[in-house]
């Protein structure tokens, strides 16, 4: 298996290099056959990478501990369904996974664009294949997932050996969220290469108009949605397993995933301006360049980068390799841009401050502002480490304080943007559209204060969220009513409205998902309550309006862990309203504890309990918290996916009927 797998990655490197070089050579020397051959070679990288992945998974399935990677990340007692997780649990395997995803995405991207972007496709192919070759190269030289296990031999030497059992999988990874969170995140980051390659390829070919815009928009949304879903599932995983009741910690590794996502969010908005109005051509390229370089920055930080984090793979020489690749990406991306930027003029200027173009610019400004603050927060401690004795921490409170207002501004723009017309809006029409949502949002703020909410920032935030939702509902209501009047019921009319302009209304659904996330964030940030409880059997303690009673404990011994399951009765007043099961396990091999929080979830609030310690005298130590509105964070997930699907669903091509035929059919009035 090991040899087969290693052969696959060496072959992959060769084929990817051939595809990259062949594309360019064929294009430059006008050898059409070479271009076609290189394109087919690019398709071939996908099955080659998959063969490599198949070899590694088969090695896991057959417990082939002669392969070091299998030895280090699995063992015999491990549940079989976690083989998939073990596959990308370390450096070599996760690189192989990224390589597979990138190869498949590249093949799809090249195949789908082979006619419409025929002229620039060889360059796009070359860029994608060069990136892919880099990943194959890293595996061949620095992080071979198929290297042999070695044991100490005679005289201090290392000899190949086959251990009886492996070290097992990190217990933090044995969670359903881990099935999808890392793969989605890595796929999303890798996928940004596709829109980047479309754009940079078009520029290299001298196609400086909008040929690439559609392909880059669609592939950009795909990778953006995959990345966004991955981030959200990661938050859910952290919430249920890391045991602090939080879901986002502004950890460097989280930040490096968020930054490309924010930049791509800016891009998928601003590309609409190019599509509709032929503007912002330079700016869109710059956004893609930034997103692509930030994705490489994420790779660098993730793999032996200089930042200490719970997420990072064990430090290794790979950090320098990825740093080099990131710098190369930066030079290449902006090199192509400055070579061609003089041809990237807009067709039209912005005509008014009160226009959708400017609303999009503001959205971009705030998104990049948040990205910058986040990057600065990641990089600053590194700078001080070099400059002084490295005594600076930049953690959650800093990011919340600086990014919080920017996010609030972004939400406000999200409400105002949709009512702005392209080119220019009159104050009168804006007033007509905004009067009701603004009025109701202010009323909502007043109602919150009257009801006793005493957190000024939360009142403002909730009120802004209400405003955003009301603007969307107002537009849906007005256009649905207009359709319903023309005949048909309301539900059908609403679906008709959605189907009529999918990018726009899909976008609104995504906006609703973002509002839902923000609703949960504001609730948990401003109104959470926490308590440390130490309970004897039968004792109870209070958190928020709840009372928790320690009912009993179940202990389960397994070969890899000792698990303890605490049963707690939940009371509110004198009524018993349910039970919670909180799980805690210790894995001696990893000297690591893993927990599963006991969570009682309602739309209003979560009661969240984590066992942190079991004392000798039989007392149980608990961290309990009440997390208001936490459920809405997860409800947003499906809404986000649905919205993205609607936005991407291809619009049926408009039916073209010659006017004469219509006149003949009496369809056009006043002429027949």
């Amino acid at each position: 298996m090991a040899d087969l797998g290693f052969m696959a990655i060496v072959l992959g490197l060769g084929v990817a290099l051939y595809a990259a070089a062949g594309s360019i050579a064929g294009k430059v020397y006008g050898a059409a056959e070479l271009v076609v051959s290189a394109r087919r070679a690019a398709y071939l990288t996908a099955p080659i990478a998959l063969a490599g992945a198949g070899a590694l998974i088969a090695a896991f399935a057959t417990h082939d501990f002669s392969i070091d990677y299998v030895f280090a990340h699995s063992n015999r007692v491990m549940d079989r369904e976690f083989i998939w997780v073990a596959f990308y649990a370390g450096n070599g395997g996760s690189l192989l996974y990224v390589t597979c995803v990138l190869a498949i995405m590249s093949a799809a991207a090249i195949h789908l664009a082979r006619r419409r972007l025929a002229d620039s496709l060889p360059y796009t192919t070359a860029i994608l294949m060069a990136i892919l070759a880099f990943f194959f190269l890293v595996m061949v030289v620095w992080a071979n997932p198929f290297s042999h296990t070695t044991c100490p031999g005679p005289g201090g030497s290392q000899v190949a050996c086959v251990p009886d059992d492996g070290r097992g999988i990190n217990p933090l990874l044995t969670h359903p969220g881990m099935w999808v969170h890392p793969p989605l995140l890595m796929a999303g980051l890798a996928g940004i290469a596709v829109p980047f390659a479309y754009a940079a390829g078009a520029l290299a070919a001298g196609r400086t108009r909008d040929e690439w815009a559609d392909a880059a928009r669609v592939s950009g949304i795909v990778s953006w949605a995959i990345l966004g879903t991955g981030i959200l599932i990661g938050a859910w995983w952290a919430y249920t397993i890391l045991g602090w009741g939080g879901y986002w910690g502004w950890d460097p590794i989280e930040n490096v995933a968020l930054m490309p996502w924010l930049t791509m969010t800016a891009f998928i908005h601003s590309i609409m301006v190019q599509k509709r109005r032929g503007m912002f051509r330079m700016w869109n390229i710059v956004l893609l360049n930034i997103a692509f370089v930030l994705a490489q920055f994420g790779m660098f930080i993730n793999r032996g980068g200089p930042v200490v984090s719970v997420h990072s793979f064990a430090g290794s020489a790979l950090g320098q390799v990825f740093l080099g690749f990131m710098l190369l990406s930066l030079v290449f991306a902006f090199g192509v841009f400055f070579w061609r930027y003089r041809w990237l003029k807009s067709d039209r200027p912005v005509e008014s401050f009160l226009s959708r173009e400017v609303a999009f610019l503001l959205n971009n400004f705030l998104l990049l502002g948040i990205t910058f603050v986040t990057l600065w927060g990641v990089v600053f401690p590194l700078i001080t480490e070099f400059a002084s004795d490295g005594t600076v921490t930049v953690a959650t409170p800093y990011f919340n304080r600086v990014n919080g207002p920017l996010f609030l501004g972004l939400l406000a723009i999200m409400g105002i943007g949709p009512v702005m017309a392209w080119r220019r809006s009159s104050m009168r029409s804006l007033g007509r559209w905004l009067l009701l949502p603004v009025g109701l949002a202010v009323l909502a703020a007043a109602a919150m204060v009257v009801a006793g909410m005493r957190e000024p920032l939360a009142v403002v935030a909730f009120s802004v969220l209400a405003f955003v939702v009301l603007v969307i509902l107002e537009e849906w209501f007005r256009s649905t009513r207009a359709r319903a009047r023309a005949g048909g019921n309301w539900a059908a009319a609403w679906l008709g409205v959605i189907a009529g302009n999918r990018p726009r209304h899909g976008g609104y659904i995504v906006h609703l998902a973002i509002v839902t996330v923000a609703f949960g964030v504001v609730g948990t940030q401003f109104f959470d309550q926490r308590a440390d409880l130490v309970l004897k059997r039968g004792e109870s303690g209070a958190v928020g309006s709840y009372r928790l009673e320690y009912a009993n404990l179940k202990i389960e011994e397994r070969s890899d862990r000792t698990a303890q399951l605490a049963h707690l009765n939940v009371y509110r007043g004198n009524d018993r309203i349910g039970t919670l099961r909180a799980w805690h396990a210790f894995y001696p091999d990893f000297r690591q504890a893993s927990v599963r929080a006991g969570i009682r979830s309602t739309p209003v609030e979560d009661l969240y309990v984590v066992p942190t310690d079991f004392l000798e005298d039989g007392r149980l130590v608990l961290r309990a918290s009440v997390n208001p509105l936490a459920m809405w964070l997860w409800i947003a997930g499906p809404v986000f996916v649905i919205g993205t699907a609607v936005a991407l669903w291809p619009q049926p091509a408009l039916e073209v009927r010659p006017a004469k035929a219509q006149v003949a059919a009496g369809l056009v009035r006043g002429t027949a």
Binding site: V350, F380, V449, D532
Partner: protein, 154 residues
């Protein structure tokens, strides 16, 4: 209308802030938990961490608050023992002043650049071009007909 809304919202928010009850001891303690980093787990604040030292520090914070210490005194105590890296937010002094100053400066510069670019583009859009001159009187007539006033007015 914008000013009216802002004033109204400002008043409501002020009302919310004024009626705030004084925080309880536990609320003050939890606020401190969020401002201090657990010394052995990088990036995690005390309220996020489940390790023993974080628990001990949480207990210590509550004892000190109960004994009448101020938040500042408690923070100073921990800075004394662990250095400034114990603070989740860097202090606004010395080298870490930059972490607070740079973002607003960059954002302000970005906003100014954005404003200047849009204004410049708009000026060009409004300025009549040569081919527009000949159309001017026709478009003027159209505007008169529609009663929409001067063309190019915002």
């Amino acid at each position: 209308m914008g000013i009216l809304v802002a004033a109204l919202l400002g008043f409501i928010v002020l009302a919310a802030g004024c009626g705030r009850p004084a925080p309880t001891l536990e609320q003050r303690a939890q606020a401190l938990d969020r401002q201090l980093i657990c010394p052995v787990c990088p990036g995690e604040t005390l309220d996020q961490s489940g390790v023993q030292i974080a628990k001990d520090m949480r207990v210590l914070i509550r004892e000190r608050l109960a004994a009448g210490d101020t938040e500042e005194a408690i923070k100073a105590y921990f800075v004394d023992r662990y250095g400034t890296r114990i603070l989740a937010e860097p202090p606004a002094s010395g080298i870490s002043l930059a972490v607070w100053v740079i973002p607003p400066v960059v954002l302000a510069a970005g906003a100014a650049a954005l404003w200047a670019v849009v204004r410049e583009m708009r000026r060009r859009a409004v300025a009549p071009r040569a081919e527009d001159e000949s159309l001017g009187k026709y478009l003027g007539a159209v505007d008169d007909e529609l009663g929409t006033g001067k063309r190019g007015a915002p």
